[in-house]
Symmetry: C2
Subunit: 206 residues, 2 copies
DNA sequence: AAATATATGGACCACTGGTCAAGTTTGTCC
DNA sequence: GGACAAACTTGACCAGTGGTCCATATATTT
């Protein structure tokens, strides 16, 4: 039983081809233009498909951007949950957090306008009515991770809240623009200062 | 001397009346609806004026939201630059920062969707081409203040960057939604933990 | 080859922020 | 008071958006 579960038939070959074309076109446009200039219609045109197809595949503008981000984040997620230290398990919480944020900063820097694009999509989305950022699975996983590490190092603080705050940093325009010009090490250093202040000398260790 | 400088003639009485009507209408709508549902046209209708008038008075949707925020922030700005401690001068930098962020949290909580509305306006603005958040004078003043206090307490860190990060927190949706439901003390506590970690026990003192 | 499930494209919709020329109101000066 | 210019108001209009729909085309299965 259950050899081929028919609940989800595989995507048709042409559909899969188009999905890739759309993803790659969006990627390319985002690399060259600010998010508000990358409309669904332009993405469709660049991918050589109709606008309707994009909505068919991704549901909404937001869906497209989210998929793009998930693609990039999948490998990273594995690295911080089961990879080698200091990112993965094995190191102390402060060390892991610093490594995590350095990696996030680098990821964001490599991916140019993507973070901004997701924010833009969330905010301009008309149909699904402003779903909260928390419902983004990538964000959720990151938050859970940061939250756990903070709680481990400092059981006395509001880890949930602080995790949101630290992650939210990436959505700041002044930060994002520096990221775009390659200053991710500066961001990583600032993260390190904050994290070490919170977990480092202050309370946990000895 | 300089009794009546003619460089800027006073606003006409009807214009001033309409400006107030528009401001109050926007305020009221934002209290009841999420920012993306508060279009310029709706504001105009609620204020009993034509859409063109809103643009005439405020230049753009962003201009309107910014003016709304400036109104609220003016008094607060005076409090933290020249008022009594712990907000104003007289207390140590850590203490002042904690007070500042508690006040900001409270201000944001009292003003519901305003912060979100400004973000929304910035991102959906079409004409002026996505001016950076840094050009908002209110944001600028806040950043300068936070920056100076951080630098005072911890000359070794990247105060400019960290100030952006701490302030950016307010623009997070998960944070903002909690703020809206009145949990500003929770946010203030988290700020205090971060600030005390950075300035408090860690490095500066003895 | 026939049958069927799936994918496609682009006209279409409601709505947005923003513009503008034409008409109206106000303040001022005699 | 009346006249006049400057300031103000207006709503039709524009370009552009995200999203929907369905007749048509294509891939897959039998």
């Amino acid at each position: 039983m259950g050899k081929n579960v028919p609940m989800e038939r595989r995507e048709r070959a042409d559909a899969a081809r188009n999905r890739q074309a759309i993803l790659r076109a969006a990627e390319e446009l985002l690399r060259r233009h600010p998010p508000e200039q990358v409309s669904v219609e332009r993405v469709a045109a660049a991918a050589g498909v109709g606008k309707g197809t994009v909505f068919h595949r991704f549901g909404s503008r937001t869906g497209l951007m989210l998929e793009l981000m998930s693609e990039r984040a999948r490998e990273f997620e594995q690295a911080f949950t089961e990879g080698p230290p200091p990112l993965g398990p094995g190191a102390g919480p402060a060390e892991r957090l610093v490594a995590f944020f350095a990696a996030v900063a680098e990821l964001a820097a490599r991916n140019g306008n993507l973070v901004g694009a997701i924010e833009h999509a969330r905010v301009t989305s008309r149909s699904h009515g402003e779903q909260p950022r928390e419902s983004n699975p990538v964000y959720l996983a990151w938050h859970r991770h940061v939250c756990a590490l903070i709680a481990e190092g400092r059981p006395d603080v509001d880890a949930d809240q602080i995790a949101h705050m630290l992650l939210g940093t990436l959505h700041m325009e002044p930060i994002a623009s520096r990221l775009r010009s390659g200053e991710h090490e500066r961001l990583a250093a600032a993260f390190a200062d904050l994290v070490n202040g919170l977990l480092g000398a202050g309370a946990a260790g000895g």
